[in-house]
Amino acid sequence: MTTNQEIILSASDVEVQFTVRGKQLRAIRNISIDLYKDETLAIVGESGSGKSVFTKTFTGMLESNGKVTNGTAMFEGKDLYANKTDTDWEAIRGKKIATIFQDPMTSLNPIIPIGKQITEVIEKHQGKSFAEAKEEAIKLMEEVGIYNAKGRFDEYPFMYSGGMRQRIVIAIALACHPDILICDEPTTALDVTIQAQIIRLIKKLQKQYGYTIIFITHDLGVVANVADRVAIMYSGQIIEYGTVNEIFYEPKHPYTWGLLSSLPQLGIKGEPLYAIHGTPPSLYDEIKGDAFAPRSDYAMEIDFEEEPPMFKVTDTHYAKTWLLDPRAPKVEPPAQVSSLHERMKQVIAEQEEH
């Protein structure tokens, strides 16, 4: 849990549009969120909800047909969106905000030795000589858990396993000494045992290097492990955010309820696993009211007519649903969600028995 409340990055009213086959698509619709120093913010949402697109705007890495059309992202007193060209962004990318991508298999250049891919960053950002950079790279490789780092310095990516490549990707990101580390589903392509190792590594090194993490995932199990705060995204908006405990134990938005109810880890043997019916709305069209309303079991008339504002639950917990309006009827979250705490204890106890 974060004690430091210093804001490192403040995004407000961010809107991103893509031009696809001559049509405008609103991928991000007015997101505002603050990122606190040294915390880990998890952004959760299903595919296409805009998690990656939103974080890509912080490093100017949107696809060429995408554009930030509104909003600001204040970082170190300046608006990040004032950077236009690749040259402008060079001062930010890597050095201030580094990104780890989903697929370690293709993130490394296949024909350049591992070591050189680390040292080129150190040489570039810290202005060190190759010899110094090599020393530091080996230290980094050891830190991310590469056994015999010196011997493996000159090896090529194809000689490394997927988990080891992701460790190298982390080492490269750390070599930049970034203030913010964006982890864009860093464990999705890895198997479960390796996933846990990588997450533990990222957390361990956070203490050591003192960076702030934005962790993008669609896996709530991972979120519970790493995050201090969680933001839930749906159709290009953050619909609820709060501390981990608030999101897991006192969720307010029906979509968050749906997500938690469909956690496979918490399913009970023999009972069908819950699934949110329907599909997200098309982002080509103007969305009226609450984007989740057509799929929600708790939708009210107002949900189809007017977009809900962000309601404050606590100082740290906000949710964008009409259910929190004082005029709304009192609705209890589904049983699975309200009993989540007990169920989790039970699951952990079961796991320990085995």
């Binding site: 990318r93 293709t106 490394l108 250049n109 296949p110 080129e120």
Partner: protein, 495 residues
């Protein structure tokens, strides 16, 4: 890796062998043999003299290995060795007897109009093939020469000095006098021990070794002041290091003025470069020029995708691919003519740089179209790769990413094709060489086919096939240098 390469080499040799055998069987069984005389002026002139023509024809066949051919005197030597003279009289009983024996052996025996038997028999196709391959690689040794007119011939290999006093490995009884020697031309150490015998050319370059036809200088002889073994100093075009054995009975006075021994049959220095050298000069320079233009141009197109440079490049690529080569060559030739360059190679000759420029530039430009297309394509493929995105996220600049990451990956497929492109310039550029009348290898094969120069066709088949296969192998080996992921092993890299 070593094992794999050897495997590839063996397979390459086997493939070249099979292709050549197929070519030989087709040529020697399907094409009427008499067609080789179609363009032979001597044969045409002998039209009125049936006996001479018959003798000329069969002698040619025999020299080219088509048939066994014996005239009466040879027949008598074979079956009536003790009474050759009596047998050699036309109509004698011995002669008839010998003729019957030949017929019994499966020969076709005929009589000249002027009298006298002659007999011929086809050499079976498998024998032709076997002869070709068993004589393909000649190794010189001291028992090589059989000269009945020189019974005292010594046979040995020894260290000596050449006519200039430079040390050399020399031989007696060998075909060549100098087996290993040094001189001032690249690669400075040369050998005559192993030589390639690709057969003899006929009817064009009558009975010259094919390997000499394509690799020896052309044009008029070029004499220089030379010192000979006898001490005489004369102006001569002879290349003394190339001298081979000449039978004592054939040695003349001129030979004896220059040489102290029997090694008096020598190649001569010519003014113009050989066919291979000519074609390769044009080909390699054109290739270099094409790469120098097309690779930067393709890269420029890729990095300015969708912008003006890309559009202009696309127009050029389309133009180069759409315009027929021949039209482009004639068009280019006209442009160069207006710029003051010659329209054909021989008008200024091989020693004027102006003779080379038009054809080299035209050849290069013709290559740029597809090269630019592929370079652009490879670069774009790489630019969209994940590792490029990550490199950008690391904070590398666009030009660093380009130089350190994209270029190295994009160059891999280009490197693979490079050896083949260079080596296969040996085969010449048919159209360009024809238009500019360049004496290169390009026209060799089409001409050989037109003239029914069968030995030449076979020789070029084995030569070009081997070169193609080996250049692919070299390309693969080169790939392992630029791409660490590629390991050439039989088990697909499992070890």
């Amino acid at each position: 890796m070593k094992k794999y390469v050897w495997g590839r080499v063996v397979r390459a040799i086997l493939s070249a062998f099979i292709v050549t055998v197929i070519a030989m069987v087709m040529i020697y069984t399907l094409i009427p043999r008499h067609l080789i005389f179609k363009t032979d002026p001597t044969y045409q002139k002998l039209g009125g003299k049936a006996d001479d023509r018959e003798r000329y024809k069969n002698t040619a066949y025999e020299r080219l290995g088509y048939i066994y051919f014996d005239e009466q005197v040879d027949m008598c030597k074979a079956y009536a060795a003790d009474s050759v003279e009596a047998c050699n009289v036309n109509g004698s009983s011995q002669a008839n007897e010998v003729a019957e024996k030949y017929e019994a052996d499966g020969w076709t025996v005929k009589q000249y109009k002027a009298g006298g038997y002659y007999a011929y028999k086809d050499v079976p196709i498998f024998k032709i093939v076997a002869n070709f391959f068993s004589n393909l690689i000649e190794i010189d040794h001291p028992w090589r020469v059989n000269d009945s007119s020189n019974p005292d011939l010594k046979r040995r290999i020894y260290f000596g000095t050449d006519y200039n006093g430079v040390p050399a490995l020399m031989g007696e009884g060998t075909k060549h006098k100098y087996l290993i020697y040094f001189d001032g031309s690249f690669p400075f150490i040369h050998q005559n021990v192993i030589s390639l015998n690709l057969g003899k050319s006929y009817p064009s370059y009558a009975y010259t070794d094919i390997s000499k036809v394509i690799s020896s200088g052309q044009g008029t002889e070029k004499s220089t002041m030379q010192k000979f073994e006898t001490g005489s100093k004369t102006k001569s075009a002879v290349i003394q290091h190339s001298c081979t054995y000449k039978a004592t009975k054939n040695l003349d006075k001129l030979d004896k003025n220059k040489f102290t021994d029997n090694y008096a049959t020598c190649d001569t220095t010519k003014k113009d470069p050989s066919m291979i050298a000519t074609s390769m000069t044009f080909g390699v320079l054109a290739l270099l020029l094409a790469y120098c233009i097309a690779i930067p141009a393709g890269m420029l197109m890729a990095s300015h995708k969708g912008k003006a440079a890309d559009h202009i490049g696309t127009v050029w690529i389309n133009f180069m691919i759409a315009v027929p080569s021949l039209a482009f060559i004639f068009f280019g030739r006209q442009v160069f003519y207006l710029l003051g360059f010659p329209t054909s190679f021989p008008s200024l000759g091989a020693h004027n740089i102006k003779s080379y420029i038009p054809a080299i530039v035209i050849l290069a430009l013709m290559n740029t179209g597809s090269l630019m297309l592929w370079t652009r394509r490879y670069m774009l493929d790489q630019s969209n790769a994940d590792y490029v995105k990550f490199a950008r996220a690391k904070g590398l600049s666009q030009s660093e990413i380009f130089k350190k990451h994209i270029l190295r990956n994009a160059v891999i497929p280009i490197v693979h094709d490079l050896p083949a492109s260079i080596i296969l310039t040996i085969t010449g550029a048919v159209l360009t060489e024809t238009v500019f009348a360049i004496p290169g290898t390009g026209k060799l094969l089409p001409d050989a086919i037109n003239e029914h120069n069968n030995a030449m066709i076979v020789a070029l088949t084995i030569l070009y096939t081997s070169l193609s296969i080996f250049s692919v192998l070299i390309g693969d080996l080169l790939m392992t240098v630029v791409d660490p992921r590629i390991k050439l092993t039989d088990d697909g890299g499992a070890n």
